[in-house]
């Protein structure tokens, strides 16, 4: 584990993107605490103020006179929270599904994977929108729904890894040594899955962010007065002629966060997933 961390630090892409993400996260969680402004308080004397140091409106104010810096930071918080929770949901579903398919194998595996193939062909984001309509844009549902549709890749990866692990000699050795099946799964198979699962979770996070911001952009995700980067971009589009910073800052931050996660995931995959590097 120690060498793995050392290798990750030596990888420049991984190092740079991880540091950038850490900086963004620190700002997102400390910024609102340190700023004298509130995210929902409106100041009608200062509508669409350009970024300024007075009153510490360093990102300006929005069309309702609310401090854009605090709103942006809260937006990042929500975006990151959705990303992590949704990825966790997809992690649980994907690992369980993939591990069961891989361990049981045979006809069960074939049927389970055929189902995954079928699901791959579906435009999931539209189903999420359908859910949001049916359940009246429930806040928690955003998290779960996004997680519930992003597990397909994880299931495939885990299943493949489990299938190949199952055939390895050390598993035979453990079985001959009298280790029970749960013991084999817990002590020998699960630890060997951790690395690859971490890599693919990193790659799921940007997808979850993308979906959440897509929904929020359309007004179907996070609802006012809560905000997310997607809703901020949407609001910025409305002010495009009078206050372009309201668009550019959240748009830039969203792009930065997505790029960092993508680079991080790619870098980690290069480092730890030997099969894909071929």
């Amino acid at each position: 584990m120690k060498t793995a961390i050392a290798r990750a630090f030596a990888h420049r892409t991984v190092l740079v993107s991880a540091s950038l993400l850490a900086i963004v996260a620190v700002f997102a969680f400390l910024g609102p605490v340190l700023s004298p402004n509130d995210y929902a308080e409106t100041d009608f004397d200062e509508l669409r103020a350009a970024p300024t140091l007075s009153d510490l409106h360093i990102f300006g104010t929005d069309n309702l006179g609310r401090d854009q810096f605090v709103r942006t930071m809260l937006g990042i918080q929500v975006t990151l929270a959705v990303a992590f929770i949704a990825s966790f949901v997809s992690l649980v579903i994907g690992v369980l599904y993939g591990a069961v398919a891989g361990l049981v194998g045979g006809r069960v595996d074939a049927v389970m994977m055929r189902f995954v193939d079928t699901l791959y062909a579906l435009p999931f984001i539209f189903f999420v929108i359908l859910l949001m309509v049916a359940f009246d844009r429930n806040f928690l549902l955003v998290f779960v729904a996004i997680g519930a549709i992003n597990w397909l890749d994880m299931a495939r990866i885990v299943r493949g890894q489990t299938l190949s692990l199952k055939e390895r000699e050390f598993i035979d050795a453990a079985r001959l040594g009298g280790v029970s099946l749960p013991g084999i799964i817990w002590r020998h198979i699960a630890p060997n899955l951790v690395g690859i699962v971490i890599v693919y979770v990193t790659l799921t996070i940007p997808q979850a962010i993308l979906m959440e911001s897509f929904l929020s952009f359309l007004g179907l995700g996070i609802q006012e007065p809560r905000t997310s980067l997607g809703s901020l971009v949407e609001n910025g589009v409305g002010q495009i002629e009078s206050a372009s910073w309201l668009l550019l800052i959240p748009a830039g931050l969203l792009a930065l966060i997505l790029m960092c996660f993508n680079f991080l995931g790619d870098g980690l995959r290069d480092l730890f997933d030997s099969r894909s590097s071929a």
Partner: protein
């Protein structure tokens, strides 16, 4: 080829059925009925509405009635737009969506493949870096970030291109939506075709061709290009889905009266049947287009046909 076609066709049917069942259940699993949000109605009126839309039947009956309609191309009435059916709404607004999506797809394939070939044939550190960096940018930046930023610089600041849809006559209004929609796909296809062409160029049959004295140009044109384009072809399926999703936000941003805009409006208005109908329509469209891609793939690559 006939057997392959039949097998693919049969494979698509369960997917379409699954879509309809899932979508129907999702809408019906929701708490409350579609008309609950309106003013309190007298029980008689409510019963009348329920009867009119067949909401008083048992759920399985409603489902089979709906399924029967869908199979005949009838997606039922819209709950909000009175006097029109969902099918009519889709038919009216589909042409403009198809136009933009189709043009974006075409542009993405042509430019993406051209860039990929260029990058694969000039493999220096700089072109590699530029192409890969651009590709990562294109993959990471969502369409709804790209399009407003283009709009800000190219129409609001520089005033080169129109941002409005209905107020612009000529074809210049297509430029920004199509480019914003195509750019991420250009990036992805460029990356894909570059990697694939490099891979093919290092294979044995290319070495043989080279040993026989063929020029680099004719090796690429007559031997390498066709196999190198197979991964691009198989990416067409996912690309269609991404472009369809992107077109929803593009239509919203540029105010284009396409199916996507109605979808979003329907979603915000809780027009259950409209949203349900469009989801089913999109899903069937994606499954069908995927089927066509699969068939093309089988036509080009005989190995696929032979495999069970």
């Amino acid at each position: 080829m006939l057997r392959y076609t039949l097998r693919r066709l049969l494979g698509a049917i369960p997917t379409v059925l699954l879509v309809i069942v899932l979508a129907f259940i999702m809408v019906r699993a929701a708490p409350g009925g579609p008309f609950d949000a309106e003013r309190a109605l007298s029980p008689d009126v409510e019963a009348n509405i329920a009867r009119y839309y067949n909401l008083d039947e048992s759920l399985p009956r409603q489902f089979f009635r709906y399924l029967g309609g869908v199979l005949q191309g009838d997606l039922g009435p819209s709950y909000r737009y009175r006097d029109t059916t969902v099918s009519e709404l889709i038919a009216d607004h589909l042409p403009v969506s198809m136009m933009i999506g189709g043009m974006a797809m075409l542009l993405a394939i042509i430019v993406g493949v051209a860039l990929g070939i260029m990058a694969a044939l000039n493999r220096t550190a700089i072109t590699d870096r530029v192409v890969m960096g651009f590709a990562m940018l294109g993959i990471s930046v969502p369409v709804f970030v790209l399009a407003p930023v283009f709009m800000l610089f190219l129409s609001v600041k520089l005033q080169w291109l129109p941002a409005g849809w209905s107020s612009t006559p000529g074809p210049s209004k297509y430029v920004l939506p199509v480019i914003s929609l195509a750019l991420p796909q250009i990036a992805y296809i460029a990356r894909l075709s570059r990697a694939s062409l490099i891979d093919v160029l290092s294979s044995d049959f290319i070495r043989t061709a080279r040993a026989q004295g063929l020029s680099q140009g004719s090796i690429v044109r007559y031997h390498a290009l066709k196999p190198a384009m197979l991964p691009v072809l198989s990416y067409m399926g996912p690309a269609i889905a991404v472009i369809l999703t992107g077109s929803v936000v593009i239509e919203e941003i540029f105010g284009i009266p396409g199916v996507g805009q109605f979808f979003v409006r329907g979603a915000l208005n809780r027009d259950y049947t409209l949203v349900l109908g469009i989801v089913i329509f999109y899903a069937v469209l994606i499954v069908l287009l995927n089927l066509i891609v699969d068939l093309l793939y089988g036509l080009i690559d005989p190995r696929i046909r032979a495999r069970r």
